[in-house]
């Protein structure tokens, strides 16, 4: 890098400090709610709702202990969340890999319209989709079943997975499968043993983002789940009752819901830009 850029990169002293202060302010604004949630979840019942916020308290895991024990423990909710979100993300990634590859390589007419249709199903307002799905599921007896929830989650995960993976596949030069075909591979073998291994980051990113979307879903689970299939977000919102809210428990549930998604999300940070823009922007 030349001295001119170096000078620009460095900027003036004031500019440097302005940038640092602004980043610090943004970090505080971002992290205070999360930090406060975590701290509150470690407080004893009376301390959580003390009128004057306090940072000095004896940390206790009491809230978590109560959460995971007793008659209405969090375990079934956790299981439902893991099964519904996991199965939906897995199915979406598998079907999305097949369809995304087909879409990326196909030269059929009307492909343009197919792509548009796929993306538009991803963009449909959740409230507008939940409504007819509720009636259809009621008709088919799929309300309060995990397969129903998985299927409903596919309505937003599948178009996302197809579109994103097709962007990843489009990056792989077609000459690769061509040489595999010349070498005697079938179409499927070329896909399975040549292309798929090359798009592993794409597959992982797709799976993770689908997992986050369905794990965090509230609207579908609110309408389509019942006593047997309620997920963690529903468990959290149910703590809000007419008689009052147990904020110690609520902040603990919040922490349980949030931490796993932060970990898996940051694990694919390198591909997050590509993933969240569905392949429109690539970073790094």
């Amino acid at each position: 890098m030349t001295t001119a850029t170096a000078a620009l990169e460095r900027g003036t002293r004031t500019a440097r400090w302005t940038v640092r202060v602004l980043v610090l302010v943004a970090l505080i604004w971002t992290l205070v709610p999360l930090g406060w949630m975590l701290l509150s979840s470690l407080k004893a019942t009376g301390e959580v709702t003390a009128p004057t916020p306090s940072l000095s308290f004896a940390p206790t895991l009491e809230n978590y202990r109560r959460l995971f024990s007793g008659g209405n423990s969090l375990w079934p909710y956790l299981r439902n969340s893991v099964v519904a979100a996991g199965a939906s993300a897995l199915l979406a990634t598998a079907l999305g890999a097949l369809a995304g590859y087909g879409l990326a390589r196909s030269r059929m007419r009307g492909k343009h319209h197919l792509s548009f249709w796929i993306i538009s199903t991803r963009m449909a307002p959740i409230a507008a989709v939940v409504l007819p799905i509720f009636l259809i599921f009621r008709y088919l007896g799929l309300i309060d079943t995990l397969p129903g929830l998985v299927l409903a989650y596919l309505s937003f995960n599948l178009p996302f997975a197809i579109w994103l993976l097709s962007a990843f596949f489009a990056e792989v030069p077609p000459s690769l499968e061509e040489s595999a075909l010349v070498a005697g591979c079938g179409n499927w073998q070329a896909f399975r043993h040549v292309i798929l291994p090359l798009t592993r980051p794409g597959l992982v990113t797709t799976f993770v983002l689908c997992l986050v979307f369905s794990w965090n879903d509230y609207a579908f689970a609110l309408v389509l789940s019942g006593p047997h299939t309620q997920t963690l977000p529903i468990a959290a919102s149910q703590l809000v009752t007419q008689t009052g809210i147990d904020w110690g428990q609520l902040t603990a549930i919040g922490t349980v819901v949030v931490i796993p998604m932060m970990l898996v999300g940051l694990a694919v940070r390198r591909w997050l830009v590509t993933g969240l823009t569905m392949g429109a922007v690539t970073g790094e």
Partner: protein, 313 residues
């Protein structure tokens, strides 16, 4: 040096050479068609079917008790749209909410990205920490917002009291609207920052050098060189966020539930209430189709943008 780009063609980039030399029977629908079939069929089942259903519902009265039934009522539900002042208000609020959240996120996100870009040390750590809100379930954002703004023990209530604001944040129409807007901004500004930063890191160093040699200061460089070159990326960010902004209603539903006095009752909240509180599925379907129309227009722009060849790579 990291690079980034806006892809010229999304899943469409394969207009390339035909298969290998040896002659081959091409059965219909062909390998690619068969690859697409399972996904497309499942997608059709979970999207076309509901779409047909919601259109049918919009022309019907829906009976839930004593077996599911649709009773045709012609254009009644659609007609109500024009004589329902509450609905017009819901859409006005949706527009305001949309402009404030998406606008705020775009401005703050771009600013944040520029700051992170100028940061020499700790950029990665700062970015990772800033991305955290994106992974928080919107329900939790809503409930946490409620916790922070509670009139007796909320942390933010307490902080505002220190600077002389004594109102009940969620009890007042204006401040409740501001609060739900800020919660959305809190959660989604990082997304814009992340996308904009990807655009910024792709601005070639040579361009910046040239600007510096010509004596352009930081502000002028940003305005005349950096911003124009990340415009396509910002547009992608804007469209992604726009489509999602209309999708979610979890935050509002779990904080104010549309109140106080309907101050935060946007179209999606109104739809949910119409359907699952008043069980008026026909009218809710009309609202849903209207929302669908709005997002389709946005999606159309998105696809056009991705297909424009002149976008930089």
């Amino acid at each position: 040096m990291t690079t980034s780009s806006v892809r010229a063609k999304a899943p469409d980039a394969a207009a390339t050479a035909p298969g290998p030399g040896r002659p081959r029977r091409r059965p219909f629908p062909g390998f690619h068609g068969r690859m697409m079939a399972p996904g497309i069929l499942v997608l059709a089942a979970v999207s076309v079917l509901p779409f047909v259903a919601v259109v049918a519902m919009s022309f019907s009265r829906v009976h839930l008790l004593g077996g599911l039934g649709l009773e045709g009522v012609g254009l009644d539900n659609w007609g109500r749209l024009f004589t329902d002042p509450d609905m017009a208000w819901a859409w006005a609020r949706t527009a305001a909410y949309f402009v404030l959240t998406v606008g705020g996120e775009m401005v703050l996100g771009t600013l944040l990205a520029v700051c992170l870009w100028r940061l020499r040390r700790g950029r990665n750590a700062a970015l990772s920490l800033m991305l955290l809100p994106m992974f928080v379930a919107p329900v939790i954002v809503g409930l946490l917002g409620r916790f922070l703004t509670d009139s007796t023990f909320g942390l933010y209530t307490w902080l505002l009291r220190q600077v002389g604001y004594h109102g009940d944040i969620m009890g007042d129409r204006t401040s409740a609207f501001a609060a739900v807007t800020l919660m959305d901004i809190w959660e989604w500004t990082p997304l814009i920052a992340l996308i904009a930063l990807a655009g910024l890191t792709s601005v070639p160093a040579s361009v910046l050098e040239a600007a510096a040699l010509d004596g352009a200061g930081m502000v002028r460089t940003l305005r005349h060189i950096v911003l124009p070159s990340i415009t396509p990326v910002l547009l992608v960010a804007l469209l992604i966020r726009s489509m999602d902004a209309l999708r979610y209603f979890d935050i509002i539903w779990n904080t104010t539930g549309g109140g106080p006095a309907d101050a935060t009752k946007v179209a999606s909240v109104r739809l949910y209430e119409t359907a699952f509180r008043f069980f008026d599925f026909g009218y809710a379907a009309v609202t849903g189709l209207l929302m669908l129309a709005v997002t389709t227009v946005v999606a159309r722009f998105f696809v056009r943008l991705l297909e424009r060849k002149e976008l930089p790579r």
